[in-house]
Point group: C2
Chain length 355, copies 2
């Protein structure tokens, strides 16, 4: 057991490394894990010191509440290498803030900022050589907290585990994405947990997404659960629509995740003098725009998928194709945000964070 200069986080190094077994040119998304992980236990009313330990299994009692009551939250971040071999994070403090927003809604104890940031930085330094350098790849970072305390009483656990795992990853989607606008199922309720990155929000999307995939779509676009008339977001992305030269995205609410990519894209678009509207967006106006040709682009925005152009959408048994644009907003905005993330361009917003 080696202790870092920073006494908050202890480090126990793995005796061997799996790095030589990894083909960094052919990484899929989130299925290769680095040599270490961060673990931090909540017991007796307090978070214990975070520890970097060799990546390995977690052992839990079968009555641990995570198995029964879905009490879990997570974050999704990335670390990027620039050409000088420096490592960068993107707005990491916002992920910490959002993790605590999720924690509160799920009755999980909040994690102090220094536990999150020092734990993350120490882990990334220990496994820094795992951060991919090839174009389009990055280190996907998964902080998560789950209920490790025991018992079948349906009430919050008394123990939790905060962990961070690192997954060197390639692209989330291969190619353009065809989406289905949902008319029956929904992902979140008014007054529910949709705005939180709560585990249960994702499991609930799997079945409707499978049905969409069987019909030939890649993703579902969720609509409000009451009327299914408003466009909300996609499985793990917020949604932008370009009608003529206006870029539109729905407002966040207690049903919608406040995406860090989304809010960054709004700022970059404004900086590009694009007319941006954050307002309720109806399915019918998107369908009308698709029919009359004013619908120029649709794309998803999220950390995992970055900016994912949408090639077309299905709605009420009809498919609508979007035009093929060489120089659209999606490609412009994707270049601007990734240039900031990979330290290829000036960061006038102050979003980059050096490891």
């Amino acid at each position: 057991m080696e202790t870092t200069a920073n006494s908050l986080v202890t480090v126990e190094k793995s005796k061997t490394s799996k790095i030589d077994q990894v083909d960094f040119d052919n990484l899929s998304f989130g299925s290769t894990f680095s040599d270490h992980m961060l673990v931090c236990d909540y017991k007796n009313g307090a978070w214990e010191n975070p520890k970097v330990v060799p990546y390995g299994p977690v052992s839990l009692d079968p009555s641990a509440k995570i198995f029964h009551y879905g009490q879990s939250i997570f974050e999704g971040m990335k670390a990027y290498k620039d050409t000088e071999d420096s490592t960068w994070l993107f707005r990491p403090l916002d992920n910490h803030k959002r993790l605590n927003i999720s924690a509160k809604r799920l009755a999980i104890p909040e994690i102090p900022e220094n536990y999150f940031m020092e734990g993350l930085k120490t882990l990334l330094k220990v496994d820094e050589k795992w951060i991919p350098k090839n174009e389009g790849s990055s280190m996907y970072i998964r902080p998560f907290i789950f209920a490790s305390g025991n018992g079948f009483h349906a009430s919050p656990a008394n123990e939790y585990k905060f962990m961070i795992c690192l997954a060197p990853s390639g692209a989330y989607f291969s190619g353009k994405v065809k989406v289905l606008i949902e008319e029956k199922y929904s992902r979140s309720a008014n007054g529910g947990v949709g705005f939180a990155k709560a585990g249960g929000n994702y499991a609930g999307q799997f079945y409707p997404t499978q049905l969409a995939v069987e019909k030939g779509y890649n993703q579902v676009i969720w609509t409000d659960d009451n009327t299914h008339e408003y466009i909300e977001e996609a499985g793990a992305m917020n949604i932008f629509v370009r009608i003529n030269d206006t870029l539109i995205t729905g407002p966040t609410s207690d049903r919608i995740l406040d995406g860090i990519t989304r809010k960054s894209i709004i700022e970059i678009a404004k900086d590009e003098n694009i007319n941006v509207e954050v307002r309720k967006l109806t399915v019918s106006e998107v369908v009308t725009a698709a029919k009359d040709g004013s619908l120029k682009e649709m794309f998803g925005a999220g950390t995992a998928a970055v900016i994912s152009p949408i090639s077309g959408f299905g709605y009420k048994e009809t498919d609508y194709d979007l035009p093929e644009l060489k120089e659209g907003f999606a490609s412009l905005l994707k270049k601007r945000i990734t240039d900031i993330q990979y330290n290829k361009a000036e960061d006038k917003f102050g979003w980059r964070y050096k490891l």
Copy 2:
């Protein structure tokens, strides 16, 4: 490793027993576990044979999808001892059916009926001496399935674990329950997973319930997420309201769990010639009835809590008390259902199931 006559389920007995450490006269709910558990793995597209093994920890990769995407479902059942020392279950095939309804909605592979029933019966026989005999106690049975497959891609897992644990238990609530009718938060969306016993439904209730507990209530009564005008159900119970001599409960929907206690109570009440109405129930009619004195009783109905009389409710900063009834519907119906469960009375409905 010992194999039962029934070749589907294998049995590996624990070398020691913890039973002598248990005070069966002072059991809390769901926090004492028997010596064995059932484990059944789903791998390569099929459920492997169920195994009864010593109760002990589950080891999972940190990327197991249960930790990230809340892909888990469960059931809640009880086993009852009669005075002749025979063991009884209550409508167990309905729990199996509902587990598979939940499975489908959560994109979890369905479990064959014989795996569920043979696994359950074998486990109960191995730990039969753990079933409490004292009045008001029973063996709480927790079947559950969760995603054990790995990876950070937000999609269904390729591996699952079906398990059953046994918890000899006392009462879920001690005494009468005071409830708060929810005006802001909600537990489920139209087109969501509220009708499934999905883990995530419970975690989402913890924070609003904590807020209610801080105000002096025991439970939240959930209302629809759109208008908050309709009474839906409680945390782990369906809700019945008695106005004058009519017993009213809301219809089930895709937001509400189709409780086995609820549907049994409806049948027993009809058998008692009680006028039962299954129809939408508004908060305002309950408030009006509370004010004019026609609201005679409210109670929750569920496996864990059986029939839980409600002493009063809070709504819009006002508290409404219910009258103290000695011989109400709640006590009559509770006696009738528990008499069937504990084999103290005729079972004209055919609900009892002998182990």
